[in-house]
């Protein structure tokens, strides 16, 4: 019993970053256990084609439940199909992405299997067949080490915590049964924002604005910095800014918003209240830009720049654009 199953989330017909990271983590764990990484995908017409690309990201077998009724995510149908696959297979572990979909789905599958689920895992190892996972708790103020006494070990993994693995397995797609009658709730619509942008919770680079931006009319300066940083960058916001109605709640980083761990985090005009730090302290590199040299954000920043954000932002965006252009 040494294979690891990864739930590959398909969005807009493609197995994106979340799916590839799950497969990367599954591959690492499977290798330590002497098994294979498998992928499971559930969705509407076309999902089979999107899933097939996962054989290039370490999936040795790809299980697809495709049905016309699953054009939109149907959590009960997906949970039932995944639980049946896990029960019929021989899995040491099942991994979900800690996305909106993965965090909704994982506990449904776990309850069906009667197994616990470890959320937002940031590291994972197996020694002597025992799986040990680590995760932040208390908003990152403590790190918990968890051991699974008995399988399958169910987990969701935090975005940017595990790297995708480019490994062509030649793995084939196999169909699994999905049953639309499993639905207790019916997802009837998806209202997308008008921005074609990566979500702040998953972005590799986040640019957050705080009260120091002085008003929503100045956000174009942050948008220009995001644009300079490329496709993997997203806007974030402090709670003060969201409460003031300058930005939507979906962009809020912190205790009552999203927890992010990007590779690079810019805190611009953000003072660094403890509730904000709770949402971003696990970012790999933190840059703070603030006029107030005593702002608490400088206490957690790797690099600080003291200055007027309105003066600094335009030339910073230009310099980053130039630096990336050279690279």
């Amino acid at each position: 019993m040494a294979n690891v199953l990864g739930y590959a989330e398909i969005r807009d017909g493609e197995a994106g970053k979340a799916a590839r990271e799950v497969l990367g983590a599954a591959h690492g764990l499977a290798a330590a256990l002497g098994g294979e990484a498998h992928a499971v995908v559930v969705g509407g017409p076309g999902v089979r084609e999107g899933a097939a690309s996962l054989s290039g990201f370490a999936a040795a077998r790809i299980f697809v439940g495709q049905d016309a009724s699953l054009q939109l995510q149907q959590p009960d149908v997906a949970a039932a199909a995944i639980a049946r696959l896990v029960e019929s297979g021989d899995y040491a572990a099942v991994l979900f992405p800690a996305t909106a979909q993965g965090k909704d789905l994982g506990p449904r599958v776990a309850a069906r299997l009667g197994r616990g689920l470890a959320t937002e895992i940031t590291s994972l190892e197996a020694s002597g067949g025992t799986i040990v996972a680590r995760r932040p708790m208390y908003a990152g103020k403590a790190i918990a080490t968890l051991r699974f006494s008995d399988g399958p070990a169910l987990m969701s993994i935090r975005a940017n915590g595990f790297a995708p693995v480019e490994l062509d397995t030649g793995g084939a797609v196999e169909d699994i049964e999905v049953n639309a009658a499993d639905a207790r709730v019916r997802v009837t619509g998806l209202e997308q924002g008008d921005r074609d942008q990566v979500d702040v919770g998953e972005a590799n680079i986040v640019v957050s604005g705080g009260r120091g931006m002085q008003g929503p009319e100045h956000w174009h300066l942050l948008e220009a910095l995001v644009a300079a940083l490329g496709d993997e960058a997203a806007l974030g916001a402090s709670r003060a800014v969201v409460d003031a109605g300058w930005r939507p709640h979906g962009e809020q980083v912190g205790q009552t918003g999203k927890t992010v761990s990007p590779n690079l985090y810019f805190a611009v005009g953000v003072s660094g209240a403890i509730q904000h730090l709770a949402g971003m302290r696990t970012a790999k590199v933190i840059v703070a830009i603030n006029r107030d040299a005593d702002a608490p954000i400088f206490g957690v920043a790797d690099y600080g720049l003291v200055g007027d954000v309105f003066e600094v932002l335009p030339p910073l965006a230009a310099a980053i654009r130039e630096a990336r252009g050279e690279g």
């Binding site: 909106a100 979909q101 506990p107 449904r108 776990a110 309850a111 197994r115 616990g116 689920l117 937002e120 040990v132 708790m137 403590a142 918990a144 080490t145 051991r147 699974f148 006494s149 399988g151 070990a153 207790r184 709730v185 019916r186 997802v187 009837t188 998806l190 209202e191 997308q192 921005r195 979500d199 680079i205 709640h249 979906g250 205790q255 927890t259 590779n263 690079l264 509730q275 709770a278 302290r281 790999k284 590199v285 933190i286 040299a293 400088f298 206490g299 790797d302 690099y303 600080g304 720049l305 003291v306 200055g307 007027d308 003066e311 600094v312 030339p315 910073l316 310099a319 980053i320 630096a323």
Partner: protein, 249 residues
Amino acid sequence: MNTIVCIKRVPDSATRVMIASDGTSLDPAGVKYIVNPYDEFALEEAIRRKEEAGAGTVTVIALGPAAAAESLRQALAMGADAGVLLRCEGSHDSLVVARALADEIRGREFDLVLFGKQAIDDDNMQVPQMVAEFLELPCATVVVGLEIDDGQATAKREVEGGHEVLEFALPAVVSTQKGLNEPRYPSLKGIMAAKKKPLEEKDVSLQASNIELVSLEEPPAPAAGRIVGEGVEAIPDLVRALREEAGVL
């Protein structure tokens, strides 16, 4: 409409976390406890619906130590009708907590079970979905909009970059997110009235799950950062540091 709201007593987010000598729990000394902030949206929703309908009951259930009775009193002061404390010590995996809550809820008369979307101590975001599975009920999570008409519900749930719209029949389980409503503060009258409202306490014993908490540690202290410089002149140094030292550009 009869609503059950499940709440949790958690350390205040501003609390300084100290690991206890057992290495697997928090040192409770000096910790201020609050009702989990997301649970306040669930409480507000239940109380508001009851007030608007002029009928129905709001029952609040908490699982936790004896001191969690304080959290229930607070919910009663906001306007809930009755409280139930499932008393047990220690922290427990979501699966066994969900089983105990489902066992308590099963057999009660209800239309809706509300939770906060997650507790701010373990940040698990699991118990509502698991309770729904154990009760075989529809479940919508991270809900920012909820309309109910003649036993049919439409919920709006937050996802990356937008919202999903879900439809389901009651009874159902819903977990609430910021944006659904503005929770009220208990009034003085509410606080006085809460003292006379029924609060039932009973002991529960939870089995272990297959996940064992081996240790809890403080995170490594962040490497000391540095101020690169002041104003526009510091930009070249900042960009160079991000490229060459940090390797993130």
